[in-house]
Subunit: 181 residues, 2 copies
DNA sequence: TAGTTCATACAGAAAAAACTGTACAAACTG
DNA sequence: CAGTTTGTACAGTTTTTTCTGTATGAACTA
């Protein structure tokens, strides 16, 4: 790791803080956001002890933090010959991080709702067939079933969107602008 | 509001819970998720007192909760002649909720990072021009600037994506499947 | 105007999350 | 094999968030 001046570190700091704030918005703890921000500017693979000294936090926190970041594919484990400690590097491709993160989030959303949606649907349909189901109740249940039908359409659509994200096809529709900014 | 049986309420409950879990994933508190879930099946506009009795929580919580949901456009205030209490209905179009929610989130991400990114960039460029800047430091700074350039591209792209979401153009690329499910 | 109904600001209590230090297990070293 | 080094599980502490009850002010009513 290149030794660099305080001034350089301070310069980085503005963007590190805003990266951290962004990640906080997405549900990570501020400290983990900050850890990622630091790693983002750190080209060489880092050990838990490196992180500890740069964040000023405990090694335990680094251990759990790096696991969270790994699960989100925001950092990657890197092996290096002759080094016993685990090494990690930040994912530098923000497009990839973005696509991975939201594809994963949305898949989870679909998965969470799938079964309960069907369960509710079936139970409502059973209720609809009951003898003692009043006219008014029938109307209500039909309205509910309509909502669930729309929900199904939504999850199906969301699944399609996830596929476009995972495959990178989304870039065909929203291309990356290569011009100067 | 139609009076409906416990059985009907139980049937709804499975999906209400999973909706709540989803919203928890997106940063809302479980109670607010549950409130939305209840409102989702509630066709008639609700008052804070209706919510209080259905969630079993305090009116204060309903007041603050509904504000959060309103800001996210997940519920809407509805005026009704002769009714003094504020009335609210859930947004039933999940496509709209989804697009609004993420467009807003991503706009906030762009906005959060814009200024700090530029600040870091400027400070790095100033450092680069310093007399006492070593060869090694120069290389490091250039690597940093490269990262910031990529970040700018990313935010520009994200802005484009937000536009497709807000305008609904995204449906031209990922159409809603109208077939039976 | 006085009385009532409503929504929300605020302060404190309860619950949840984040963080740390200790302890231990697994993987290395000589 | 005994001695290190390294990563993580766990329990306890601190911090943050969520929720409630009281108090207040705004909007309506007569």
């Amino acid at each position: 790791m290149a030794p660099h001046s305080d001034e350089l570190e301070q310069a980085r700091n503005a963007y590190i803080s805003s990266l951290s704030e962004t990640m906080e918005m997405y549900g990570l703890s501020p400290s983990m956001g900050r850890l990622f921000g630091i790693m983002f500017f750190h080209d060489e693979p880092m050990t838990l002890d490196d992180m500890r000294s740069l964040t000023g936090m405990s090694k335990t926190s680094m251990s759990t933090g790096i696991r969270t970041l790994s699960q989100l594919k925001l950092v990657h484990k890197k092996w290096q010959k002759g080094v016993r400690k685990d090494l990690y590097v930040a994912e530098h491709d923000q497009f990839r991080s973005f696509l991975d993160f939201f594809a994963h989030l949305w898949e989870k959303e679909i998965q969470i709702n799938q079964k309960p949606l069907l369960e509710t649907e079936i139970r409502l349909q059973e209720n609809l067939k009951q003898q003692n189901c009043s006219e008014e109740e029938q109307i209500q249940i039909k309205r509910d079933l309509e909502k669930l039908y729309n929900a199904k359409q939504y999850y199906a659509w969301l699944g399609e969107l996830v596929e476009k994200f995972k495959s990178g096809d989304i870039f065909n529709y929203v291309p990356v602008n290569e011009d100067d900014l």
